[in-house]
């Protein structure tokens, strides 16, 4: 075995949901092996949760992830309501789904922007993040916060969506829909994006099953799993929508799934808004007096895949055990398959492909040659390589035409 170069990506950023360090072992340009180190910033949320009351846990789990901050409270609410045997009102169901789908839209837009940035398409980055803003403004209007919305509680939601807010949401949705058309067109028609992402970071269906991957990562490989459809909760069984899948399993397929999912989200929200209008204003909570002993499983489809919460209650006002599994926990493990054999320039977008809350990778460390300790690349240079590759492809494509 020849000497390999080690390129570390990571280790962590305190804002990141799952801080970790990826060590790419490279032979020349090609990634030969990948190893990960996690636990730099173990927040011990599961243990903390055992010392908080059920009402407080919502605010705790909301802070697991800064981007999809409603998916964890959603799964936790499902788990606790399963233990208590509570059926929430239809209005609360619709409101929960509206919040979750708005979040999916802004999270997917964020991903499209970052993916564009890593490919050297800063225009896509600017667009996507610009059009994400109105969605965040909607959250501010509905919940008072642009993020960490504090909307969920056992037995319903904490804030209502009244008539005037509904028309405002509709207005913004129209804008977002038009802009999504624009973005989808720009991404789907661009030959350079095709060249950079097609056949890159391919995950086969069997790989997905083996690693237990979920969300767009699984759906892009032809596995039609979506908790909203398979194990329906909240308002999802009350509205019409379909699960988006693709078969190629590469980065392009993942982008395609995310972009098309945004249209489904818009459609779900529109139907939910009609549902809200039918229900009586103010009926958003059911009183829950106590949580009996027992166990509950809560699932929710976050933008990145299935969030799973397992709650064990001993009849007191705090959970006796609370196990949380975020989607990136299983999705990130698939790098072992998707990155090996790629060039370093493609590794950045492959890692971005599963949308692993990318702030950690933003903080790439300086790379050293594992043999000599010589400094080779830092994070900025790694992105520059990716951008350079896009530039080369652009010029070759131009020559051909």
């Amino acid at each position: 075995m020849g000497r390999k170069t080690l390129i570390p990506i990571g280790p962590y950023h305190p804002l990141q949901e799952e801080p970790e360090l990826f060590k790419l072992y490279c032979d020349g340009e090609i990634v030969k092996d990948i190893q990960w180190v996690t636990g730099y910033n173990h927040r011990s949320i599961e243990k903390l949760s055992e010392s908080k009351t059920y009402e407080q846990v919502f605010f705790l789990v909301e802070r697991i992830c800064g981007i999809c901050s409603t998916s964890h409270p959603f799964a936790f609410a499902n788990a606790v309501e399963e233990i208590a045997g509570v059926e929430i009102t239809d209005r609360a169901k619709y409101i929960r789904s509206v919040i979750a789908e708005l979040e999916r839209i802004h999270s997917h837009l964020l991903w499209v922007g970052l993916a564009g940035h890593f490919l050297g398409y800063n225009t896509v980055f600017m667009w996507a993040w610009k059009y994400r803003e109105p969605v965040l403004d909607l959250f501010e209007m509905i919940t008072g916060n642009r993020n960490s919305y504090a909307m969920f509680k056992v037995g319903g939601v904490r804030r209502d969506i009244e008539g005037s807010k509904i028309s405002e949401i509709r207005k913004v949705l129209d804008v977002v829909k038009k802009k999504t058309d624009l973005l989808t067109g720009a991404v789907m028609d661009d030959p350079v994006i095709h060249a950079r992402t097609k056949g890159v970071g391919v995950l086969s269906k069997q790989d997905v099953i083996d690693f237990g991957a979920v969300g767009p990562t699984a759906r892009a490989s032809g596995l039609a799993i979506d908790v909203r459809m398979d194990d329906p909760y909240a308002a999802y069984p009350l509205v019409n929508w379909k699960v988006i899948t693709a078969t190629a399993g590469d980065v392009f397929a993942k982008a395609e799934v995310r972009l098309l999912e945004m249209y489904e989200s818009i459609s779900i929200i529109e139907q939910c808004l009609k549902g809200i209008e039918k229900e009586k204003e103010g009926e958003i909570t059911v009183k829950v007096n106590e949580i009996p002993p027992g166990i509950g499983h809560g699932r929710a489809e976050a933008p990145r895949g299935e969030v799973f919460h397992f709650v064990m209650s001993d009849g007191s006002n705090c959970p006796a055990r609370h196990k949380i599994r975020a989607p990136s926990y299983v999705n990130i493990a698939t790098f072992k398959k998707s990155c090996i054999g790629q060039t370093i320039a493609d590794a950045t977008i492959t890692l971005a492909g599963v949308d692993p809350c990318y702030c950690c990778t933003e903080r790439m460390a300086v790379a050293c040659d594992s043999g000599t300790g010589e400094v080779i690349l830092n994070g900025r240079e790694l992105i520059e390589r990716s951008v350079l590759r896009t530039g080369e492809l652009k010029s070759t494509l131009k020559e051909r035409t």
Partner: protein
């Protein structure tokens, strides 16, 4: 096949290994099994019945160390828990990671947090506690006191 048929079939197939069956509702069931049967039953669920491994949750209770292995049958929305109770003195169980990669991380995590030993794990290195945790200290056990609590 609906969910009650699936559960009845598994109960029939592994009659000798099953200690208790609890069907909570249409889409949730808990099968308490003998720990030594975990590989056999998990292999049946994963290979023959097409279940997906979601995650495993370890719990430290008065009975000892319990693990709930959560499996999902996506077409029917069933979550099936394989529930094992391990000896409190010597918690040991066969690793599932030679069968699928999905359990690789969580088994290592349970080892670090609870001190449960997973036999024949293909990659037994530390996952989350490398370098900065004391050896032999398992913070998720009930007897563990954080430094704040000890004061």
């Amino acid at each position: 096949m609906n969910n009650s048929d699936i559960i009845a079939r598994i109960a029939q197939e592994f009659k000798g290994e099953l200690l208790n069956t609890e069907v909570k509702n249409q889409r949730r069931a808990i099968l308490t099994i003998k720990p030594e049967a975990i590989l056999k039953i998990a292999a049946y669920l994963y290979k023959a019945a097409g279940f997906r491994f979601i995650i495993a949750s370890a719990v430290h209770t008065k009975k000892g160390f319990e693990i709930h292995y959560h499996f999902s049958n996506d077409p029917t929305g069933l979550i099936l828990n394989l529930h094992v109770v391990l000896d409190p003195e010597k918690p040991e169980i066969e690793s599932l990671s030679n069968m699928f990669n999905a359990s690789n991380w969580i088994e290592r995590e349970m080892h670090e947090l609870f001190g449960i030993v997973f036999l024949n794990h293909p990659e037994p290195g530390k996952l989350i506690s490398e370098g900065n945790w004391a050896e032999g200290v398992y913070p998720y056990r009930k007897e563990f006191k954080s430094s704040k609590n000890q004061e």
